[in-house]
């Protein structure tokens, strides 16, 4: 199936420096803050257990600031004794970030802040300093690659037909905060204009690979690009170049215009928060055919007929299916929901 209403889980990896996060079991909505924290500058190592004459394992007992706590300059971090006190104090303002096995401590200045927001309506099923996972029910569409940060917004249609290309002229500031459905192709120009207009994300059949590199840099690969929070979000549903959306994918998107949605880039999924009864969206996955020169992909007829072994222009002989445009190698035809990563 292309569209599927199910119970999904979305992992939200946290950067270093989380200071608060949602508790396990907590109900959250897409867009809610799951975790917040600080980015650290160069830390300073401070003598700890040895300095105050305790064993490293006993240091926690005499600490006045817990690991992760904020400190000012000269804040007493740990202290022993009464009359002849021995203390460890912070040399800088910032946060006590780590206690070493030998009892020494690291204090780092805070140079920035970050927040991580949920991309699902649901319940927090895991919460630690590495990751917060949310599990919840939603309509979802699996893409092949996503670029940029997670995005949350209402769905808006920016093309009239599933084979249309997203034109920059269709994008203006009235679409701020929306997730745009972009048809067969979203060019680099449309992506950057949408970002400038405050659009939350673009969902398209394909985006030009060269354009993605222009926007996200040379680190962008066919698997996506994990970037900072200040870049646009793009979800490619089928491939790269140009790929008209199948009717089975596009029509539900039309029906879901205005619905709250989110793009989870780590899993390359579009979640739409509409009731299960919102429509008869869960149809069989349409077939997609990669073009002979690999320049794009297109949806195919529901009924495919095998054409036997054919010899192609490259002189490769392979099983083929018949299409109006000539035979296509069977290997170049995939279901919309087929796995796109190799088996291991």
């Amino acid at each position: 199936m292309s569209w599927r209403y199910s119970r999904w889980s979305a992992d939200h990896a946290l950067p270093i420096g989380a200071s608060e996060r949602a508790a396990q079991g907590q109900e959250v909505h897409a867009g809610d803050v799951l975790a917040a924290g600080a980015t650290y500058g160069t830390p300073v190592r401070v003598g700890g257990a040895r300095r105050i004459g305790v064993a490293p394992d006993d240091l926690a007992r005499v600490m006045r600031v817990p690991v992760g706590g904020g400190v000012e300059r000269r804040t007493v971090i740990a202290r022993t004794g009464r009359r002849f006190a021995r203390a460890v104090s912070s040399p800088i303002a910032g946060r006590l970030i780590h206690q070493r096995a030998d009892g020494d401590l690291y204090v780092a200045p805070v140079v920035g802040r970050w927040v991580v927001r949920s991309t699902l309506d649901g319940e927090v099923s895991r919460s630690d300093d590495g990751c917060v996972t949310v599990t919840g029910s939603a309509w979802a569409l699996q893409g092949v690659a996503a670029y940029g940060p997670d995005a949350i917004g209402d769905i808006a249609l920016a093309v009239d037909a599933p084979a249309a290309e997203l034109h920059p002229s269709r994008i203006d500031v009235r679409l701020q905060g929306r997730i745009l459905i972009a048809g067969a192709r979203a060019t680099a120009e449309s992506i950057t204009r949408a970002h400038a207009c405050g659009v939350a994300a673009i969902v398209a059949g394909a985006a030009p690979a060269g354009g993605l590199r222009v926007v996200y840099g040379d680190e962008a690969t066919a698997s996506g690009a994990n970037t900072g929070p200040d870049s646009p979000t793009v979800l490619c549903l089928i491939g790269f170049g140009s790929a008209p959306l199948p009717r089975e994918v596009f029509m539900p998107l039309v029906a879901l215009v205005g619905a709250r949605a989110a793009v989870h880039t780590a899993s390359a999924r579009l979640f739409v928060f509409a009731p299960e009864s919102a429509g008869d969206f869960a149809r069989n996955a349409p077939s997609l055919a990669l073009s002979d020169d690999w320049l794009g992909a297109r949806p195919m007829d529901e009924r495919l007929a095998l054409a036997g072994v054919k010899r192609f222009a490259s002189e490769i002989e392979a099983e083929a299916v018949s299409t109006a445009d000539g035979p296509v190698p069977v290997a170049n035809v995939l279901a919309f929901d087929a796995p796109r990563t190799p088996q291991t």
Partner: protein, 472 residues
């Protein structure tokens, strides 16, 4: 063809999305599976010896792992920067190398950064420590939740072997009844070298990986296995090599963005077939760069490739052997690998060699399947015009060779050649193509501008009749 004393009815070889069975048809008995293996992400924590990084790179290449990070005790990074690097790398395995006593404090500092960065990673990475017991204890104290294992010094062959064995165990993900594709190919190369009493190089390019295996008749095998390929890892080739280096091998003018589109689509379309000539040319270009970068990485890791380049037998497998024309496989190998002497190049059809290698890797008695000899390559760089004599069933042909020459002498029946400057007289039975004389020199000089590059490529392609007529 392939005989085995083991109770294995067939061998099943996994490709990107499909599997092939050797022999084909339904299996009526136990099946041995050959898999590419999981991607294993390795981060090395290194002491001050510069040899450690190279030894680690060599070990990772031999074990088919991805070395995603090198963190040194003297790399100048802050504690937080190291922790961020380690967290972003999301390692499956950490290798701590601290053979020098002066490295102890530094390596413990790195272990602390590891705990700070990856304490909440699931599952926690295992730590392999190549250092004395006291260092291991201190690392264990810094990372109490991680499993710590001892490793011999990876600068020694025994240490490297231990590392490779560990990496392969992780790549199998605890599946007992599987053989990794690179293991199978190494076993096949070893068996072929012993059989032929000559050095053998096996070149394997698949969608997700490239292997260069050099086997000597005494049983010694050096394998380089890199996650660069012509399919799922095609985008990694472009990321490593740059688009222009891939584009330069395409024998027609093509815009870089359109080429990138094709690469990205191929990377996300498992087992896609190049139906057009342009897509086939792209696959050949990607194969060249994948091989070239695997070799470059091996050289950087301190692997000597002189023996491999001079090996008299070169066997091609995987996608490289499945190109429609033998000349296509040959041209890719000549451009990217560049044998230095007289070499018999063969293609292993289908997956039979991998299947036989998988059985051999399990210690079974196996006869290696026959490979298809396609050409004898006479690589030379003569100071002045020299003569190469080719003798076959039709008689003797003498070719005058000058620097820059690149030509094919088609042959019939058994072939022998005489080259200037060497007493070695390479010979072979029937060859699919004939004798290829390659006097283009190394490294290959491809002009940067299309106006000069395209005619040069066209000349090389035409010499071997590489592409169907419509593409020229």
């Amino acid at each position: 063809m392939t005989t085995s004393t083991e109770l294995v009815a067939s061998v099943e070889i996994a490709h990107e999305a499909r599997t092939e069975r050797v022999p084909s048809g339904a299996a009526a008995g136990p099946v041995l599976r050959v898999i590419p293996g999981d991607v294993v992400r390795v981060v090395a924590l290194l002491g001050r010896d510069p040899q450690l990084a190279r030894a680690m790179a060599f070990g990772a290449l031999s074990g088919g792992a991805s070395l995603v990070g090198l963190v040194g005790t003297h790399d100048g990074r802050s504690f937080v920067a190291r922790a961020e690097l380690l967290r972003d790398a999301h390692p499956d395995l950490i290798v701590a190398l601290a053979p020098d006593r002066r490295d102890v404090d530094g390596i413990v500092e790195l272990a602390e950064a590891l705990r700070f960065g990856c304490a909440d990673q699931h599952p926690l990475p295992h730590i392999l420590v190549a250092a004395d017991e006291r260092v291991r204890d201190r690392i264990a104290a810094s990372c109490p939740a991680n499993t710590i294992e001892a490793l011999p010094d990876v600068r020694t062959p025994a240490g490297r072997e231990a590392l490779v064995a560990r990496l392969r165990a992780v790549r199998r993900r605890a599946q007992a009844d599987v053989v990794l594709r690179d293991e199978a190919l190494e076993a096949a190369a070893r068996a072929m070298a012993v059989d032929a009493k000559a050095e053998v190089v096996v070149l394997d390019v698949t969608g997700g990986a490239t292997s260069v295996i050099h086997a000597r008749p005494d049983g010694l095998v050096v394998g380089i296995h890199e996650r660069l390929g012509v399919g799922a890892a095609a985008d990694r080739v472009v990321a490593r090599a740059g688009l222009d280096r891939v584009r330069r091998w395409i024998p027609r003018a093509i815009e870089a963005p359109a080429l990138l589109e094709r690469v990205f689509n191929r990377a996300r379309w498992p087992d896609a077939i190049p139906a057009s000539v342009l897509a086939l040319s792209l696959e050949m270009a990607l194969a060249r760069e994948a091989i070239a970068h695997a070799l470059a990485d091996a050289e950087r890791a301190g692997v000597s490739l002189e023996g491999a380049w001079a090996a008299p037998l070169l066997v091609l497998t995987g996608k490289l052997a499945q190109l429609p024309r033998a000349a296509q496989s040959l041209l890719v190998v000549l451009d990217a690998f560049g044998p230095t002497g007289a070499t018999l190049v063969s293609r292993a059809p289908g997956d039979t060699l991998v299947a036989a290698g998988a059985l051999a890797a399990r210690g079974r008695v196996v006869t290696m399947p026959a490979v298809d000899p396609i050409a004898i390559v006479a690589a030379m760089w003569p100071r002045r015009s020299a003569a190469v004599r080719v003798t076959d069933a039709n008689g003797v042909v003498e070719e005058r060779v000058a620097r820059g020459s690149f030509l094919l002498v088609p042959t019939k029946g058994a072939v022998a050649i005489e080259m200037p400057g060497t007493t070695i007289r390479p010979s072979a039975g029937r060859l699919e193509l004939g004798v290829v004389i390659d006097a283009r020199g190394r490294p290959l000089a491809l002009p940067p501008r299309d106006a000069e590059r395209l005619p040069t490529l066209a000349r090389w392609y035409a010499a071997l009749d590489v592409l169907p007529a419509e593409a020229r």
